[in-house]
């Protein structure tokens, strides 16, 4: 489970998201007022990218059909999603966002 740098914090404004690709993982760095979260950039409802999804606290809403997810644990918070998304342990150190990703093999 390597901890890898995924973005510089100043690349992601508060309230915005930034898609990144690391070791084959399609990730989304989400910077909400509540914190910074690195999540899988794919909705569990109809597999849309979550890029640009609105952030409210620890929630992200899929931009396609507004499926809500908790960015802390990935859980689906209501319809239309009924299964979770992957989220990754995230830390910010010296202005850099790191996430603990599963081994790619």
């Amino acid at each position: 489970m390597p901890k890898v740098r995924v973005a510089a914090l100043d690349e992601v404004e508060v309230g915005k998201t930034k898609p990144v690709s690391v070791d084959g993982h399609k990730l989304l760095v989400c910077h909400s007022k509540a914190g910074v979260y690195v999540i899988q950039n794919q909705c569990s409802h109809q597999m849309a990218r979550l890029t640009g999804g609105k952030l409210r606290g620890h929630k992200i809403f899929c931009p396609l059909h507004s499926a809500p997810f908790d960015m802390r644990d990935g859980s689906a918070l209501g319809p239309p999603a009924d299964s979770p998304i992957c989220v990754f342990e995230t830390v910010v150190e010296a202005g850099q966002v790191f996430a603990t990703l599963p081994d790619s093999d």
């Binding site: 609105k54 409210r56 396609l64 059909h65 507004s66 499926a67 809500p68 209501g78 319809p79 239309p80």
Partner: protein
């Protein structure tokens, strides 16, 4: 210090006429006995669908649920759903939740925040202002068919004092005229600064009006909720306003006049004293002096905490419940600490079912001892910070809604009333003066059903 009123019928708490607390002149709503089929027949339900619901302002939600642009919730009412969404200019718009293309629900979420709404059927996309953004493969449509750029169908939407209403046919009077309440009545509570801290939608096997009727009077308190006798007066001050609106002021922190011992402080009264920061052990007054003592304690606490909105309120408002009925299907228990909004929402198909939708709103105050009054039935450990908007809890028919002892007693009773009003031996309700709000509501309903409104 004593309770500054005499518990006799008709109840009048004695506020001066310029006060919002003042007893209103009675309205003569006659003595009609309405046929009980209004509570169970499909025909009456259809009349309501055609002649009532489209014409009235329906309470859709609260502004604090959608503080930022793009924030939305879906309001379900019978067969209809509405998307209520905050606009970039901070106004609020509402749309039928239906795609103009093939009729699918455009929004499948219950609430959230969106930059646009995309239909899950063929991907048509609409802005939060309801305007058409994109038609998938538009070049495959004859331009004449879509020349009007079909957007979401808008429904009239307005708000007062933090509460959002919609009107389906667009022809209702202006919202504040329609509501019939004096100017500032709702606004004084500053509900826009309160947050939903608890939301339960429970299904009850009764007609929605059986619900309204029961909650519009305190005549049943000694029989259905005898435990309230130690802490609530059941003679309420009833006030009728235009257009079916009404209020009952229920004195709280007092013993019912039916209780002989007005000296000994009841344990429920003692609990309410503690909520207000008083120590019942050192209280030297009688039971009838508790209400004034609690009012004074709350006034002083508000000053200490800098809660300026308390200046809006009479002493009575600091303890009593101002149960305020908005025609046709809303009652709000209004308090300085918070507001209990109940909606009686008819089932989409079955006249003998309704959804009892209850939202408890609280204005967060940074003080560990300041809380929503316990009798409002908030579960232990509820987050009252306002940071978390809880998901509505759905309770199917037959299960206890866990709304607190008093409301659970109502939930148990009303399905039995529903069964009984169908009896061949029942001729229709006989309303006494303590039930004048019920008659006021039913008389207004008649005006809609018989097209006088």
């Amino acid at each position: 210090m004593t309770a500054k009123y005499e518990a006799k019928w008709p109840m009048d708490l004695g506020a001066p006429s310029e006060s919002l607390e003042a007893k209103q002149p009675d309205i003569d709503n006659g003595l009609d006995v309405y046929h009980p089929s209004r509570y169970y027949s499909q025909e009456f339900m259809e009349l309501e669908e055609q002649r009532l619901w489209p014409k009235v302002w329906l309470l859709a939600g609260v502004t604090s649920d959608i503080p930022e642009d793009g924030d939305f919730f879906v309001f379900s009412f019978g067969r209809e759903q509405f998307i209520v969404v905050r606009q970039e200019d901070e106004t609020i718009k509402a749309f039928y939740n239906v795609c103009p293309h093939r009729g699918n629900r455009v929004c499948l979420a219950r609430s959230g925040s969106a930059a646009s709404f995309s239909c899950a059927f063929h991907g048509w996309r609409f802005g939060i202002d309801g305007k058409l953004d994109n038609i998938t493969d538009e070049d495959t449509f004859d331009p004449r068919l879509i020349a009007h750029r079909p957007g979401l169908s808008e429904v009239r939407c307005d708000s007062v004092g933090g509460i959002i209403f919609i009107n389906m046919d667009g022809k209702a009077p202006e919202l504040t005229d329609y509501l019939g309440l004096p100017e500032g009545y709702i606004e004084q509570y500053e509900i826009d600064k309160m947050h939903v801290v608890h939301h339960v939608r429970s299904e009850w096997k009764a007609n929605w009006k059986i619900g309204v009727d029961a909650f519009y009077e305190t005549y049943h308190l000694p029989y259905v909720h005898p435990q309230t006798q130690g802490v609530m007066e059941d003679f309420s001050q009833n006030d009728l306003y235009p257009n079916g609106a009404s209020r009952m002021i229920v004195p709280i922190c007092v013993k019912s006049h039916r209780v002989e011992d007005q000296e000994t402080v009841d344990p429920y009264q003692a609990h309410m004293m503690m909520e207000a920061g008083l120590d019942p052990a050192t209280f030297t007054g009688t039971a009838s002096e508790v209400r004034a003592a609690v009012q004074q304690a709350k006034r002083e606490r508000a000053q200490r905490l800098g809660l300026e909105h308390y200046d809006n309120f009479t002493d009575g408002q600091l303890t009593d419940s101002w149960a305020t009925g908005l025609f046709p299907n809303v009652q709000m228990g209004m308090h300085p600490e918070g507001v209990f909004i109940m909606r009686f929402i008819p089932d989409a198909k079955d006249p003998e079912k309704f959804i009892y939708d209850t939202m408890i709103l609280f204005r967060p105050v940074d003080d560990p001892d300041y809380d929503v009054p316990a009798w409002m039935g908030l579960p232990e450990g509820t987050d009252c910070s306002g940071d978390v908007r809880p998901e509505p809890i759905w309770v199917p028919a037959g299960e206890s809604p866990n709304l607190g002892e008093v409301l659970d007693q109502d939930a148990e009773l009303l399905p039995i009333v529903q069964e009984a009003v169908r009896s061949r031996g029942y001729r229709g309700a006989l309303y006494g003066d303590q039930e004048q709000r019920v008659r006021h509501f039913e008389a207004e309903l008649e005006r809609y059903i018989y097209r006088e409104k």
